[in-house]
Amino acid sequence: MSDFTVSSSLTRRLGARIWSSRVDYLFLVPGMLIFGAFILYPIFAAEYFSLLNWSGFDANAKFVGLANYVELLRDPFFWNAFGRSFLFTLSTVPAQMIISLIIAIILNNKLLKLSALFRTMIFLPVVTPVAVIGIVMTIMLSPFNGPINMAILDIGLLSRPLDFLGDPDLVLWTLAAIYVWKWVGVTMVYWLAALQTVPAELYEACKLDGVKGWQVTLYVIMPMIMPFAIVIALISAISALNVFPLIMSMTQGGPYFASEVMEVYIFRYAFATAGAIPRLGYASAAGVFFGLAIMSLTILQVLAVRHLRNREKPHAA
């Protein structure tokens, strides 16, 4: 390519290149319609909505600038929900990852004939709709005649039933445990995939060198699957931040807002106003604030991973 190409010929060449890939662009149309309408547009529209005082019922949306954000940052319920979303994520992700890793390591054992069956059983809660899990778990945990409380009382562990979902100090942890129970199956599959990338020769080499049992797992396998851990943690964290369906179908954020996470807060202001006027603009502001917080954390994490990789490179080479 010549350095002295004039701009008009550049434009023409660009035009020709675009024209030559017209079939490619046609192929993109259906996908870009979905992507544009239901992913890209909402992301940008939310910022605009967040600057409005708007009930959604009529066209009377009033531009109020950053007023929604000012109010938001002063609302203790917002900060509680915001913090709770991250607390929920920080408590469920490590638990989910460690439990599923242990299960995956056991299921990866060649001696185990029934591992497909076990894998299926662990995976069943993943396939079960959250609304159903909400019902079943509410019944299971009921302080009146619920099977779990009955079992606890029968064993004599406690003298009176625990109100797992009605006790403000207990409710978030109960929900976290159910969340982990439901989703461990997915993380287990990710770990199994990671474990299958460990070459068989490595196990043989361990045998020859006399490295045994848990030492193989700890010193050989773990370092090899660590790169996967970062990806798995990221996927799990994003899913934990979207815990809305489970909380909605079990406690609706209660009792006394003790399990209200960000999405429940947004839903409450936008759609579940119970007689009061919906505040779509205010709810949008909460959504944008939350979304931007997550995105900045994601970017930070990506940068951190890149930094770590760059540092490792000399050793790898």
Binding site: S21, D24, F38, A46, K110, P199, N242
Partner: protein, 287 residues
């Protein structure tokens, strides 16, 4: 060689056979606890409410299907079921076609704007649903689909769409060029090459996308809840089961029956497709 990697972890004390039995017994116990809530649900759905509250064992003394009849009639499970099937089938078809086409072009072709699309996808991949739900709701209302199943179906396509596109793009980019070139030499058109040559090659990803989108659409809650708030007749199963709960929390038999009905199709589908599904997911993590 994936399966060769599954080598025994050596411990001196027990024979391999004993160890296998021991591990299996422990795992079986863990799995039993794991699926106990679901077994309990099925068991309760076959009992009358008195028997459920009496906390008899897991095997119903006098099994009855009366709960199922009541759930089907009172909770409108029948119509919710067909609403969910409509949303699920429609969105799975649309998403599979659109994401495979987009993934194919992004994974194998070079054109102006490709980098920009990839950048936009990377930017949107971790956006929480709470961030986008209000504009989506507003958009559906504006285009006249605010209170319709078509709206739910279309918007449900957005759920994991970018991840599916990335899956297809990654898979297609690894297929060697020869096949495509051979087809080109034989004068097969671009569209036909995609449809008859490339798409069949990507079957593992197609199955993964079909199963994942089915799970997502069948499970989706926030979107159908928001869209059907003012119109209970177009509720989906998730929302219907949730609403039934609100109205009849005392009827444990009816609720467990309604719940069992709503998990059956996905569980059956999963049991048939699980091999492809788990392998496909595994492939996606590796890639």
């Amino acid at each position: 060689m994936p399966h060769d990697a599954r080598v025994a972890i050596r411990q001196p004390a027990l024979s391999p056979r004993m160890r296998r039995v021991l591990i299996s017994v422990v795992l079986a116990a863990v799995c039993a606890v794991w699926i106990y809530p679901l077994l309990w649900m099925i068991s309760a759905s076959l009992k009358d409410n008195a028997a459920i509250f009496a906390n008899e064992g897991l095997i119903p003394g006098q099994p009855t299907f009366e709960n199922y009849v009541r759930a089907w009639k009172e909770a409108n499970i029948g119509s919710y079921f067909f609403n969910t099937v409509f949303v699920t089938v429609g969105s799975v078809l649309l998403v599979t076609i659109a994401s495979s086409m987009m993934g194919y072009v992004l994974g194998r072709r070079r054109f102006v704007g490709r980098g920009l699309i990839f950048a936009l996808i990377a930017f949107t991949i971790f956006v929480p649903q709470g961030y986008t739900i209000i504009p989506i709701f507003d958009l559906l209302t504006r285009i006249g689909l605010g209170q319709s199943l078509w709206g739910v179906m279309l918007a449900t396509c957005g759920g994991s769409f970018v991840i599916f596109v990335l899956l297809f793009a990654g898979y297609f980019s690894q297929i060697p060029n020869e096949l495509e070139e051979a087809a080109k030499m034989d004068g097969v058109s671009f569209v036909k090459t995609f449809w008859y040559v490339m798409l069949p090659l990507a079957r593992p990803i197609v199955v993964t996308v079909v199963v994942m989108q089915t799970l997502y659409a069948w499970n989706d809650f926030l979107l159908p809840l928001v869209v059907t708030l003012a119109n209970p007749s177009i509720r989906t199963l998730s929302v219907g089961v949730y609403a039934f709960r609100g109205e009849n929390f005392i009827d444990w038999g009816g609720m467990t029956a309604a719940s069992t009905i709503s998990i059956l199709p996905v569980v059956i589908l999963f049991l048939f497709l699980q091999r492809y599904f788990i392998d496909g997911l595994a492939g996606a993590v590796k890639g």
